[in-house]
Subunit: 471 residues, 3 copies
C-alpha cells in the first residue's frame, strides 16, 4: 500500500466561505513574507553558538516535543518506545524504531495543531510529498536524516532560511549565558537574545531553591540570604541579561497572585522562605510579592514583564519520578486575575512606562477578566493564545473573546513559545492565517474596512510584537 500524498494547500487555514476566503487571501498576501519576530520561546541557544548539525529525525523532532509524546502516551504507548529515557536507565527504542512507532500513530494527531506544524516541517523544510504513515516511516527517517547532515540544514542556515529577524530564548538567572556570548562574539548576524526567567530563585517550591540562592550569591557577590542582597542580585543579573540582549523577563507561577507588602513584611517573609522550609502559603505569598518587586525593577530597567500562570506542573507523580519534568503531564487549572493582580496594579498599573504581558491557560477569563483589565490599565497587554490554545480554534476564540473589549492594540501579536525550532515558521504562518481569517470576517460583515484590516494584519504579524517587546 502506498502512502497518501502530502501537500500544503495555499488556502489552508483560511475561512471556508469563498467570499471571506478571498478577502483573507488578500490580507495574508500582505503578511506572509514579513520577517519572524519570536519574542518568547524555549529554543536552545547552543544550537546557534555551536552551529552543529542536528542528530536525526527522532532526536530532533520527537524526543524533545512533549506535545507529541503526551498524545502517543495517552493512547497507551510507553515513552520508552518513543526513545525517551527514564531515570532507571531502562532500554529505550532506537531512533528508527521510535520513528516507526510515531509514524504508525501519526493519525492520532488529526485535528491537532501538531499535525499542521509537522506537515509544514515535512513538506517545506524536508521537501516530503507523501504523508507520514506506517508505510512511509523509513522513507521519512532516511530522507530527513540525509538532509540534516547538510550544511544548509545547520542551525544558523535554517535561522536565515526561516527569515527570523529576532528570537528570544529563556534562561535562569543562574545561567552563564555563555552560548549567547559565543553567538555575539562569532560575528554571525543572527539576532538571538535571552530573557530573564527567575523562577528557580523566586519560587521557594522550586527544586533546589536554597542551593540556587547560594549559587546566585556566588554569581553576583551579593549575600542572597539577606533581603537587600537578594534584590540587588536580581538587579545585577537583570543588567547582565540586558547586556546580552534581553528585553524581557518571564514568570511561570502557579497562579497570578501578586502582593504589595511593606518592606518590613517582605523582608520577614523572605527570612522565612530562604530557609527552604516555607509553608505553601508563604511560598505563594513570596512569589506574589516577587511579581510586584519584578514590576518595580522593570520600571527601572525597562525590561518587559511576562506573566505565565495557571499550569499544574507534573500532575502525574509516578511518571515524574521515572521521567522528570516536561513530559506532557502539565495541566491547566482555573485561574483568577481580578483580585490576584490588584496589588501589583494598584502600585504600578497606571505606569505608562511599564509593560506587563499577561497569558492564561484558562479561556474563561478572556472576556470576563483579561480583556476588561487590559482594556483599562496602561501597564497591561495581552499575550497571544497560549500552549494548549496555540491552535486554530484556540486563536479564533482568543480574537473573538478579546477584541471587542480590549481591541487589537492591547494585544502583542504572536509568539511561538516553543523549543521545536523547525516548527517556528509553521507556527507563525498558522497565526498569520488565522488572524487574517478573523479580520476577513470583520471585513465581510462590514465591521472593518479592507485597508484597515490590512493595517491590523501587519500589526498583528509583525509590528505589535516588535514594539511591545522593544525589539
Amino acid at each position: 500500500m502506498t502512502a497518501a500524498t502530502l501537500s500544503l494547500h495555499p488556502d489552508r487555514l483560511l475561512p471556508a466561505d469563498r467570499h471571506v476566503r478571498d478577502i483573507a487571501r488578500t490580507l495574508y498576501a500582505e503578511v506572509k513574507d514579513l520577517p519572524i519576530i519570536s519574542p518568547h520561546g524555549h529554543t536552545d541557544p547552543s544550537w546557534w553558538a555551536r552551529n552543529e548539525n542536528f542528530d536525526n529525525a527522532t532526536n530532533l523532532l520527537l524526543v524533545p516535543d512533549h506535545y507529541l509524546f503526551r498524545m502517543l502516551y495517552s493512547q497507551g504507548i510507553p515513552l520508552g518506545d518513543l526513545g525517551i529515557p527514564d531515570a532507571s536507565g531502562s532500554p529505550v527504542a532506537d531512533p528508527r524504531s521510535a520513528w516507526r512507532t510515531f509514524a504508525e500513530n501519526y493519525y492520532l494527531f488529526r485535528g491537532t495543531p501538531s499535525r499542521i506544524w509537522l506537515d509544514w516541517v515535512f513538506a517545506e523544510v524536508f521537501g516530503l510529498d507523501i504523508l507520514l504513515q506506517r508505510q512511509s516511516a523509513d522513507h521519512y527517517f532516511d530522507t530527513i536524516n540525509d538532509q540534516l547532515k547538510r550544511d544548509d540544514f545547520r542551525p544558523r542556515a535554517l535561522f536565515e532560511r526561516f527569515n527570523i529577524e529576532a528570537i528570544a530564548t529563556t534562561e535562569s538567572p543562574l545561567d552563564s549565558l555563555s552560548s549567547h556570548k559565543t553567538i555575539r562574539e562569532s560575528g554571525w548576524g543572527g539576532k538571538v537574545i535571552t530573557a530573564y526567567r527567575p523562577d528557580p530563585v523566586v519560587d521557594p517550591e522550586f527544586e533546589g531553591f536554597v542551593a540556587n540562592l547560594r549559587k546566585l550569591s556566588d554569581l553576583t557577590g551579593e549575600d542572597c540570604f539577606s533581603w537587600s542582597g537578594y534584590l540587588t542580585a536580581h538587579r545585577k543579573r537583570r543588567t547582565f541579561f540586558k547586556e546580552m540582549g534581553a528585553t524581557s523577563t518571564d514568570h511561570g507561577h502557579p497562579t497570578a497572585k501578586t502582593a504589595d507588602l511593606s518592606p518590613q513584611d517582605a523582608e520577614a517573609l523572605f527570612d522565612r522562605v530562604k530557609t527552604g522550609k516555607a509553608s505553601s502559603d508563604d511560598a505563594e505569598n513570596f512569589r506574589a510579592q516577587m511579581l510586584t518587586e519584578m514590576a518595580g525593577m522593570s520600571l527601572e530597567d525597562g525590561l518587559v514583564m511576562q506573566i505565565h500562570p495557571g499550569s499544574f506542573r507534573n500532575h502525574n507523580q509516578s511518571l515524574f519520578d521515572r521521567f522528570g519534568r516536561d513530559k506532557g503531564a502539565d495541566v491547566p487549572v482555573r485561574s483568577e486575575y481580578v483580585e490576584a493582580l490588584r496589588p501589583l496594579l494598584g502600585k504600578y498599573g497606571n505606569e505608562r512606562d511599564l509593560t506587563a504581558i499577561l497569558f492564561t491557560l484558562d479561556e474563561s477569563v478572556y472576556s470576563r477578566e483579561l480583556a476588561p483589565l487590559a482594556g483599562h490599565y496602561p501597564a497591561l497587554k495581552l499575550g497571544p493564545a497560549w500552549w494548549f490554545h496555540d491552535s486554530p480554534e484556540g486563536m479564533r476564540r482568543f480574537r473573538r473573546q478579546m477584541t471587542e473589549t480590549a481591541g487589537f492594540y492591547n494585544t502583542v501579536g504572536f509568539n511561538d513559545d516553543t523549543r521545536a525550532f523547525l516548527s517556528i515558521p509553521a507556527r507563525h504562518d498558522l497565526a498569520r492565517r488565522i488572524d487574517c481569517g478573523f479580520l476577513a470576517e470583520l471585513v465581510a460583515e462590514h465591521r472593518l474596512q479592507d485597508w484597515e484590516a490590512a493595517e491590523v494584519a501587519r500589526d498583528l504579524a509583525y509590528n505589535l510584537a516588535k514594539s511591545a517587546y522593544k525589539l
Copy 2:
C-alpha cells in the same frame, strides 16, 4: 492626506455566507423599523424634561462614555487630555483638543462595538461621510456642534426621530423624580419612565449608606432605622416610582447571593448594618436578604425585578481617588448563581406572577447555570448579553449558549443599558441584525422554518421586551 470614507453598508453585521445572509436580510426587513423599546438604561431624564440643546461633540459623546476613555486610557492617554476633570481641579484639555486626541486614536476601536455604534451616530445622526481620523477631527467637531445647536437635535426631537416607544431611566429611592414629573406634566407625548434602583439604601457598603437611610426616613416619614419602618419606606417609594411610570426595579450587587432569613434574624442583621459598621459578611448577607425582600414586594406590586451582579467596581484605587466612579475601571469577576439564587427561588421561584430578569458578566454561566435555571423556574427570565458582552460576538455567544436549553421565550429581547443617548438606535439595530443572523443560521441549517424565524425575530426585537417589562 484626505480622510477615508465612511458609509454604513446595508448588510453590515449580517452573516458573511451569501445564502445565510439572504435569509437574514429578509428577517431583518421584518424588524428594522419596529419601534424601540428601551426597558433598561441610564439616560438622564432631565434631557427630556428641559429639552435643552446638547453642548458639544466632546461633552456629549466622549466625556460621559467610559467605554471610550477606558480604551484610550489603556493606551497611555491621560484622562485630562480627553477633557475629563479630576478631583484636584487640574487643568483639562479643551473640548476641541480632546476631540482631536480622540480622533487620532479612533483606530484603537477597530473590532469593538463602540466603533460600530459611533460610526452609526456619525453617519446617521450627523450625516458624516468620512471616517473619524486625525485629518477629519476638526470637520467632525464643527459639523456635529453646528447640528447640535438646531431644534431638530434637541432631546425630544431626537427621541421622536429615533422612534422610541418607551425608555426607562434608573433612579435611586432618594431621587425626587422631578424630571419625570416635569416630563409628565409637559404635555409632550414621549414615554420616559423610571426604574427603582435601591442600591444606595440597600447596600451597607455604598458610600453614605447611613446618611442615605436618614434621607429615606425624611422622604417617607418612616423610621428607616427600624426594620419595619425601613421595609415600609421601600414600599412607599416603590409605589411612588410606579406612579411615575416605573415597571421594574434594578439591583446591582457584587454577587447574585440571596438569603431567606427568619424575620427575627433579618431584623437582627438590619440592626447591625444600620450602624454603618457592618462587617463585609453582614453587608453581603444583608444585600442577599434584601433581594428576597424585593422579590416579595415585586409579587405584591408587580414591579419586574432585574438582577445585575458580578462587577468589581472601581478596581483602580488611585484612579478612583482622583476621578471618582464610572471611569472604566469596573471589571467582571467570576459569578455563581445556582447556590446563590436558591434561597430566593425556594421562596418565590415557582411564582408565575413574579418576573426576575437575570444578567451576568460571566459568560461561563450561560450554558451551565443560567439557561438551566431559566429553563425551569417560572419566575426567572434571562436578560440580554450585558455590558462587555453587548457586542456582535457577545450576542452570538449568548444565543448559541442559551437557546438550546432556555429557548427564545425565556429571554426578554434587547436592552441597551446605556447613558449614550445618541447610540441607542445603533445598539438596537446591532442587536436586531445579530439576532436575525442567528435565526438565519437556524433556517439555513433547517433547524427552524422561515416563517417561525420571522415570528421569533419580531419577538426578540419588540414583543418580548414589551411583555416582560410590562410596557
Copy 3:
C-alpha cells in the same frame, strides 16, 4: 387555520456554507446507515422483556421527558396540566388534554434539540407531515395512538427498525435484572445489556442508603456493614451484572472528587458513613474513595468506568416535595477535575487496561482540564457532550474545544443518555450530522484530507463507542 407543514430536510444540521455542506454530505453518506451503538442510557429494559404496546402519545412522549415539561413549566404551565401526577394525588389533565397543552406550546422549543428530536419522531416514526401546533394537536394524538396499537410499533419491532446493534440500560446493584434475564431467555436477538450504577449503595446521602446496604447484604449474602463484606458485595454484583451483559459502570456524583485513602482510613470512614449519620464531608470523601475502589475493581474485571459529575439534583425543593425526582430541576454547577481526579489518576491513571470515561456539565473545563488530562493519561477517555450540551451547538463546542488537545481518539463517539426510546435514532443522527459538519470544516480548511475525515467519521459514529465500551 391549517397547520404548517413538517418535513425533514435531507441537509438539516449540516453547515450552511455550500462548499462545506457538499463535503459534509459526502461524509454523512458514509455513516448515516451504520448501526446504532447506544452504550449509555436510561431506557427501561421491561419494554423489550414484555414487548407490550406503548400506551398513548402523552404517556410515551411527554410525561417521562423532563426536557419537555421543564421548559413548559418554566413558562408557567402547571405540571398537572401536562398529565404529571403529584404526591397528593391532585387531579391531572387527561392524556388528550395534556397533549393539547403541549401542542399549543410547542413553539417554545424553537431552537432547542428537543424540537429536532421530536420532529424526527413525528415525521419518521409516525409519518406525520404537518407541524405540531394547536390546530394539529388532535390529529397528532389520534395518529400516534393508532399506530402505537400496531405490532410493528412494539418495542422489539422498533428496536429492529431503528437498526440498534446494542443498547445499555442502567441499573442499581439492588436490581434483580429480571427484565434482562427475560430478554436473554426469550430467544429474541436484540442486544440489550445493563450497566452497573452503584450510587444508591455508594452515596451516603442517597435516600435510603442504610436500608440499601441491608438489601445489598441480603442479595449477596455478604455483611455489607463491614468494609470487606461491602467491597466483596460490590465484586459479586459486578460479576452478576457482567454475566447479564454489562461492560460498564456508571457513577453520578455531585463532584469529580476522588480519594486514595489507606485501607485503615477507608474502613474507618466506611464505619462512620454506614450509620446513615455521615457528615457531608464524610459523605463526599466516601464517594471520592469509592470512585478509586471502583477503578481498582474495573482493572480486575474489565468493566469500563463512566464518571458523570456536576449536577445539583432537585434544586427546587417544593417541586421535589410535590413531584419527586427527575422533574427538570437539576442544574449544573461549576466543576473541577484536575485536583479532584489526581488521587485516582495517581493510583490507576497510567494503567493501559483501565478505561475511565469522563463527562461534564461545565463546558469551561473542556479545553482547560479535560482535554489536557485525556491527552495525557492512558486510562482516561472523554465522553460526548452531555445532557444540556447534547445539542448541535453543544457538540460543536465540544469538538472545537476538545479536539486540538485531545484529538479524536481520546473521545468515545456518541451516546444518547436518554430514556426517550423513540428519539434514539434522531439523537444519533443529529450527532453524526454535527460531527460530519465539523470534519467537513477541517477538510474545507485543508486541516484534514477527505479520506481521513471519512475514516474519522466512521470512527466517531460507530467504531469508537464499540471499542471503548467493549461492545
